[in-house]
């Protein structure tokens, strides 16, 4: 076999030869899926690249891409890369100021925007982007009234490109040939929860090697179907919908618009699918809500076969042996329940689904796996061109993120932080030497900022952000978020604050989920007049205690975390609220602030008191403040000491 194409444009030309008439990309427009085959895509990209050249684009210049997943925007990436430029996709829902930062920081010369909405944002900030020369737009709707001197229709650009191409027939191929694997392929700005976004510089080698490894790891073929619906600026979309499509030649479909994604999912029936946990979660919730309205008989069938699925499904998926009776029951269940359900979810054909980004609830994870949907977790970062660890088939556990991906090395620092090194590791942060050096060592190891460990199966387990991880007084590691997340997977628990750093043991404060607990109380004939009263009911305490106990049991099974078992807990009398400063606006608990505000409670948790009186100031929605007081009980729990208790 000849030398593998080492850049995207070379791959595109190769695909146009190899796959020719096979579909490369689809978009639903005017109710019909429009398809472009690989040859047509190569042709469109060529016209576009020449159009850029005709308008004075030089090697090394940067093109920003602003909009939803659209074929033309994907072509823009390839076109820019063809002539040595660097595409800079931005988040389509970013406000003008955020886009302005990227345009200015990346010194963008051209912008390709999807529609009027995006163009408006750029026009708002264009004065502050001195390098910006021209703006191109895909959708002409509403654009008639605009001053067209710096605003150019995408079609006009391509027409100019075709003219340019006729006059300089060798230009395009020459430019493509000049590209090398170590050239910069893309600049991806990380959304950055703290501070300004950073521009991650990735080369063709970074992205293509990672994409190839992923394809080999999961045996993906040219026949996959993928729906491109996650932001183009996100590295995951770049790998799944762009890089892997170019490498293996599968077709990517772009939804009609953001609100039709679920319809389009059903029509396309992807075989390879990525979604962050909240999407899987909301799909499941929808199913459950609809089942509650279903006829009694349907409910009985559904409940029965879901129980079968939960016990048998994961085993069948892992190709383990099951009894003949179970096998047939599962088949019947597929006919009656799982098949139609998967069809409704648009998951009939899924061979492989990935989730990443945050911990997924084991219940949700198991639900999909029991239906026979091969959902797996991965751990990745923009800085790694996504893949750091992947779950191999047959070794899928809800509590790990898998084994190191091919060619990825992982090591755990003394403080528990996970470091990795791989061919996908980014070059640097654009124009940010200092931060690059902070994250990436001389030898190419990258600090993830996450703490974790490798368990005895060789799987990586991420437990918390490294900076939040502390130590108990006996020296064992304490990861508050890991404990909190485990508890939060229980439907009755809304928020949890875990303490333990520099203490003798772990103790938690729990917020009940009003909706779920109220529902539970109603069904169990427990009366209450207020949140505070409900939270203090002994029955509710018992409910929470059961959950905490279960978490302890799970923690005990893990030698690294057994010491973090929860010894004492209390249920808070008020809901933690961003207005009171207890949560961030994105609903993350502010542990330090809470520890300070509820100092008396924390002290009580670390004493032998059975209850504690507290008076708290609260802010009402109209801005007034008041205070509520309560006498909170504190419960003690037994911890599991015998690690192999399960037997």
């Amino acid at each position: 076999m000849a030398v593998k194409s080492d850049t995207f444009p070379k791959l595109l030309l190769e695909n146009a030869r190899r796959f020719g008439d096979r579909p490369a990309i689809r978009e639903k427009e005017f109710g019909i899926w429009q398809t472009w085959n690989w040859r047509q895509v190569a042709d469109e990209v060529r016209a576009l690249a020449c159009g850029f050249a005709a308008r004075g684009f030089k090697r090394g210049d940067r093109v920003a891409i602003v909009g939803d997943n659209r074929p033309r925007l994907y072509w823009t990436m390839a076109a820019a890369q063809s002539i040595g430029g660097v595409p800079v996709p931005t988040y389509q829902d970013a406000v003008a100021e955020e886009i302005q930062y990227v345009l200015e920081h990346a010194e963008v010369k051209f912008v390709v925007a999807e529609d009027q909405e995006q163009v408006d944002k750029i026009l708002d900030v264009q004065e502050r982007c001195p390098s910006l020369r021209e703006i191109f737009f895909d959708d002409t709707r509403g654009m008639r009234k605009y001053d067209q001197s710096r605003l150019i229709d995408f079609e006009v650009l391509q027409r100019e490109g075709r003219e340019f191409d006729q006059k300089n027939p060798d230009y395009f191929v020459q430019q493509v040939e000049q590209g090398k694997g170590e050239d910069v392929a893309i600049l991806l700005y990380t959304s950055g929860t703290t501070g300004r976004p950073k521009g991650v510089v990735l080369t063709h080698d970074n992205v293509l090697i990672t994409a190839r490894n992923g394809i080999e790891f999961d045996h993906l073929t040219q026949d996959e179907e993928v729906l491109a619906y996650l932001p183009m600026a996100w590295v995951g979309d770049h790998i799944f919908s762009y890089a892997q499509s170019y490498v293996s030649g599968f077709c990517v479909s772009c939804p009609e618009n953001a609100s039709t994604v679920m319809h389009d999912l059903r029509e396309i029936g992807p075989t390879y699918f990525f979604a962050p946990p909240p999407i899987f979660e909301s799909l499941l919730t929808n199913v459950m809500i609809r089942m509650e309205d279903a006829a009694r008989i349907s409910q009985i069938i559904f409940t029965y076969f879901m129980r079968v699925a939960r016990s048998v499904g994961p085993k069948i998926l892992a190709k383990e042996a099951v009894s003949i009776k179970d096998k047939w029951l599962y088949k019947l269940g597929h006919l009656l329940v799982y098949g139609p359900l998967k069809n409704t979810l648009g998951m009939s054909r899924i061979q492989l689904a990935y989730t990443a980004g945050e911990a997924i609830g084991p219940d949700i994870f198991d639900f999909y796996r029991s239906l026979g949907i091969n959902i797996k977790q991965l751990y990745g970062q923009t800085e790694a061109s996504v893949n750091v660890t992947l779950q191999p088939d047959g070794e899928v556990y809800p509590d790990t993120v898998g084994k190191p991906a091919p060619q990825v090395e992982i090591k755990i620092a003394d403080d528990g932080e996970v470091l990795y090194r791989s061919p996908g590791v980014f070059q640097c942060y654009f124009k940010n030497e200092a931060e690059t050096r902070e994250i990436k060592t001389e030898e190419g190891w990258v600090h993830t900022g996450d703490a974790g460990f490798i368990d005895d199966r060789g799987h990586l387990k991420i437990i918390d952000r490294a900076k939040d991880v502390g130590k108990l007084n006996d020296g064992s590691i304490f990861a508050p978020k890991y404990v909190e997340n485990k508890l939060k997977f229980f439907p009755h628990i809304k928020e949890v604050v875990a303490f333990g750093d520099g203490r003798d043991y772990c103790a938690v404060m729990v917020n009940i989920d009003m909706e779920a607990v109220a529902n539970w109380a109603e069904r169990n004939n427990i009366s209450y007049a207020s949140y505070q009263e409900l939270a203090a009911r002994p029955e509710v305490y018992q409910l929470i205690e059961d959950g905490v106990s279960k978490v302890n049991e799970e923690l005990a099974a893990d030698p690294n975390l057994a010491a973090s078992q929860i010894r004492r807990f209390l249920v808070l009398h008020k809901e933690l609220d961003a207005d009171d400063g207890e949560l961030t606006r994105t609903r993350k608990v502010r542990r330090r602030f809470i520890a300070d505000k509820y100092r008396t409670l924390v002290d009580a948790l670390y004493s032998d008191k059975k209850s504690c009186f507290i008076e708290t100031e609260v802010a009402f929605e109209d801005g007034r403040t008041g205070s509520i007081s309560a006498d909170l009980q504190i419960r003690d729990l037994n911890v599991y000491t015998d690690l192999k208790k399960a037997s």
Partner: protein
């Protein structure tokens, strides 16, 4: 709105319209014109005769007196089918859609006046009828795209929220490729976001297709924002006519409509 918008000749003129139901006078000597390409608002308190005026324009009501000049042709009265086939489309104050039919089918009914093949041909669905159907479907899909209602293409209209139904109704009117679009309270009962969307669509229709628009609206903010000229009715009589600024400053309008004097700026 940007300053100098230029409009053509009147597309429609009503002169001295008198309409009464039995002893009740709904309209009395109303005259005004609508210029080609403008957004014209008709406002007034409840019972002022706004909807009656719209119904006169598209031939639902026949005035006892007066004449209507539409595209140079003067008539005593309009007939609904005449209005429809000569390029006047409308939406209704109380949504008048086929609740059991999908969004797509509802909008398709708007193409009715454009269909040339007869019922038999359509039932057979052969060659020419099929081609025609495809053309219409294509147009309807453009309308759906324009109004951004792809996600509800196949949803029965009765299941849609009110704001969406209004949008579908606008879609059906647009499907008739009107030259003059009459909107009867397009934003009634909508929340702020839905109103903003609707405003944008109205302006886009006007801008993109050059469609002349006459709308009745209660929301003064909307009227002042999107219309080029406003005619004010009260008790069936015209009491003011002019740009939003002029109308807003008119003492009779303030008394009749806005009730109290207030400073909006």
């Amino acid at each position: 709105m940007e300053g100098d918008r230029k409009f053509g000749d009147p597309i429609l003129e009503v002169q001295d319209i008198n309409l009464s139901f039995g002893g009740v006078t709904a309209l009395e000597g109303v005259s005004f014109d609508i210029l080609n390409g403008e957004v014209r608002a008709i406002i007034g308190p409840n019972g002022a005769g706004k909807s009656s005026m719209l119904n006169v324009i598209n031939g639902f009501y026949h005035p006892q007196q007066g004449q209507i000049t539409y595209k140079g042709k003067t008539r005593r009265q309009m007939r609904p089918h005449h209005a429809a086939s000569s390029g006047i489309a409308r939406t209704f104050q109380n949504i008048a859609l086929f609740k059991g039919m999908s969004t797509l089918d509802n909008i398709m009914t708007g193409r009715n006046t454009k269909m040339r093949k007869n019922l038999l041909w359509q039932a057979l669905y052969l060659g020419p009828a099929k081609r025609e159907e495809l053309e219409h479907r294509d147009f309807v899909e453009h309308v759906i795209d324009f109004l951004e209602i792809q996600a509800i293409r196949k949803t029965p209209v009765g299941k849609l929220p009110y704001g969406m139904q209004k949008r579908v109704e606008l879609g059906r009117a647009l499907a008739a490729e009107p030259e003059l679009l009459l909107l009867d309270e397009p934003m009634a009962g909508m929340n702020l976001e839905e109103k903003e969307d609707m405003c944008r669509f109205v302006l886009d229709v006007n801008d993109q297709f050059g469609t002349t628009i006459a709308l009745i609206e209660h929301d003064m903010g909307v009227v002042m924002d999107i219309s080029d000229r406003v005619v004010v009715l009260d008790y069936g009589k015209k009491i003011a006519d002019g740009t939003p600024e002029e109308v807003r400053a008119d003492q009779r309008v303030i008394e009749a409509y806005l009730g109290v004097t207030r400073d909006d700026n």
